[in-house]
């Protein structure tokens, strides 16, 4: 394992210390395991809170700031945070109008946030949860834990964050978050496995000429393995899976993210975006807004995910609303 780290045990606290040093707009409480805005959330604003295992940077801490999250709870690498973190975060940012938890659909995240919501309720904090489950590589059936939450998390946090900033109430903020999730679908492909600091070696062996199709963001193997293929073919099969979803069936305006999984350079992401754009144009869909870069990573995995969100005027105007976080910034 070749990584910039001191010890596998200290990687999280070192990285959090680095975040704190790099971003004066963040307040990082290492003891509580909470990253929140340095500026206090204003009274009456619905607080938006997320979290999950570390190793997906900039998700979630990099999305804390005006117009997006009020706080994020980083768990150990690929391990969802514990309820104490979410409770501490909720208490720190709640301003009388309740808290929205943005939770990616993994058993661990769901259970820990659920316990946190109960603890928060015990302390008189009203919580609504938005569950993100956009990954079409996983069938939503009784045979699985349901679709995973991946790239759409960025869209949910951006758009719900904008509505919260505008002063909407708890139900409205949670409602738009759910609407964004329902309108969004993702698919990811890995060219290499990733290595967790604790494990010290790649999570799976992948021959030099094979790729994993339908991976998540925790270094798990995907749905199947295939020979390396041209970007055009890989993107076509990913987009087939995404556009087969009823939520995205009709053409129209979309927000698109081509996201690097950590080890893939921007140049390749642009190659992927080109193919995505060409396919969407074929379907008569218009890319209204887009992101290309590393937003939801999986440590050092080489690979990319594609997320498409069917957007109406309301979602687009919330997308365009000012945001000022380490990883997304515009209009401010």
């Amino acid at each position: 394992m070749k990584k910039f780290l001191n010890t596998p045990e200290s990687v999280l606290s070192d990285a959090l210390a680095g975040m704190a040093a790099a971003h004066p707009g963040l307040h990082v409480d290492q003891n509580a395991g909470v990253i929140r805005r340095a500026e206090e959330t204003r009274v009456g604003k619905v607080a938006l809170l997320s979290g999950g295992g570390s190793g997906h940077e900039p998700l979630h801490g990099g999305f804390v700031g005006t117009g997006m999250l009020d706080a994020a709870c980083p768990g150990e690498v690929f391990t969802s945070p514990v309820p104490d973190q979410m409770l501490a975060a909720a208490k720190a940012v709640e301003r009388g109008s309740g808290v929205v938890f943005v939770v990616k659909n993994y058993t661990g995240d769901v259970l820990n946030f659920q316990m946190a919501a109960e603890l928060a309720a015990d302390e008189g904090i009203e919580v609504q949860t938005v569950l993100v489950d956009d990954d079409v590589a996983v069938q939503d059936s009784t045979w699985t834990a349901g679709r995973r939450g991946t790239g759409a998390t960025v869209f949910v946090e951006k758009i719900a964050g904008a509505l919260a900033e505008q002063g909407a109430d708890l139900a409205a903020v949670a409602g738009i978050g759910r609407r964004v999730n329902e309108a969004s679908r993702s698919f990811a492909v890995a060219l290499t496995a990733c290595t967790t600091p604790a494990n010290g070696k790649p999570g799976f062996d992948l021959p030099d000429d094979e790729i994993e199709i339908g991976v998540g963001i925790h270094g798990e193997p995907g749905r199947h393995r295939q020979k390396l293929a041209p970007a055009r073919e890989i993107v076509a099969s990913a987009m087939d899976a995404i556009l087969a979803e009823p939520a995205l069936a009709d053409a129209g305006q979309v927000i698109v993210m081509v996201n690097g999984l950590g080890g893939t350079p921007l140049m390749e992401l642009y190659v992927v975006f080109h193919e995505v754009a060409a396919l969407l144009a074929d379907k008569g869909a218009a890319i209204a807004r887009s992101l290309v870069g590393n937003y939801v990573t999986s440590l050092d995995m080489a690979g990319a995910s594609i997320t498409v969100c069917r957007a109406d005027a309301e979602l687009l105007s919330l997308w365009d609303a000012p945001v000022n976080t380490p990883a997304l910034r515009w209009g401010l």
Binding site: G53, G75, E76, V77, F78, T79, S80, P81, V82, P83, D84, Y106, T107, G108, L111, N112, Q114, M115, A137, V138, Q139, T142, W143, T144, A145, R148, T196, A198, N199, G203, F204, G216, H218, G219, E220, P221, R223, H224
Partner: protein, 207 residues
């Protein structure tokens, strides 16, 4: 089951998790995200530390403390599941030092908590696949007139068999379910850690 023995059990579990953390992580790497060993080790070493300065008045209080500590230190799927199990077991106990039957009832409350929370049934390739057969064996042994030591030994054996029996199963809960048929052929990490917990119990109650 008295307080000292319960302490020893938690201590023995912590030692087992430390010893087997790499194996658990490798099992999790195959069908999950390669953190189960680190998770369990972190949780039970935190539990041991928490118990160091904790003087419970009952086995129930002790188990509840362990459960709370697991919840606060593990995260992931296993944190709430194991944490709730220990908490529920602790809360189920009404006598300070339960006899074997009372202890079985507490363990049953633990399994019920896991199933209430995670909705897994036998055969879903989870903790349940080791935990449920362990309780069946425990109960059978007690029913046949066996004592705690024998019951725990049989439970440990059944949990271990249960863990092995997850190999041919396709996962239907947790992260491994994402792999669909590719989860077949691998032993479930959670079932394996459950087997270690019962093995530790058998060890401490067998003089």
């Amino acid at each position: 089951m008295d307080i000292a023995l319960t302490r020893q059990w938690v201590q023995a579990v912590a030692e087992a998790m430390d010893e087997h953390k790499d194996r658990l992580t490798q099992l999790d790497a195959a069908i999950g995200d390669a953190d189960h060993g680190a998770n369990m080790n972190r949780g039970f070493s935190a539990a041991v530390t928490a118990l160091d300065t904790f003087e419970p008045e009952s086995v129930g209080q002790l188990l509840t403390k362990v459960g709370n500590t697991l919840i606060s230190s593990i995260g992931g799927a296993s944190g709430p599941l194991y944490g709730s199990a220990f908490r529920a077991a602790g809360k189920a106990l009404t006598t300070p030092e339960p006899d074997a039957a009372e202890f079985l009832a507490a363990l049953r409350a633990g399994l019920a908590a896991i199933q209430a929370m995670g909705a897994a049934v036998l055969g879903d390739k989870t903790i349940v696949d080791a935990y449920a057969p362990a309780l069946d064996a425990f109960a059978e042994e007690l029913g046949a007139g066996g004592d705690l030591a024998h019951a725990a030994a049989r439970a440990a054996k059944a949990a271990d068999d249960g863990a092995h029996a997850t190999i041919p199963l396709q996962a239907r809960k947790g992260r491994a379910s994402y792999l669909g048929p590719r989860s077949i052929g691998h032993q479930d990490p959670g079932a394996t850690s459950t087997a270690l917990i019962f093995e530790a119990l058998a060890k401490v109650v067998n003089p």
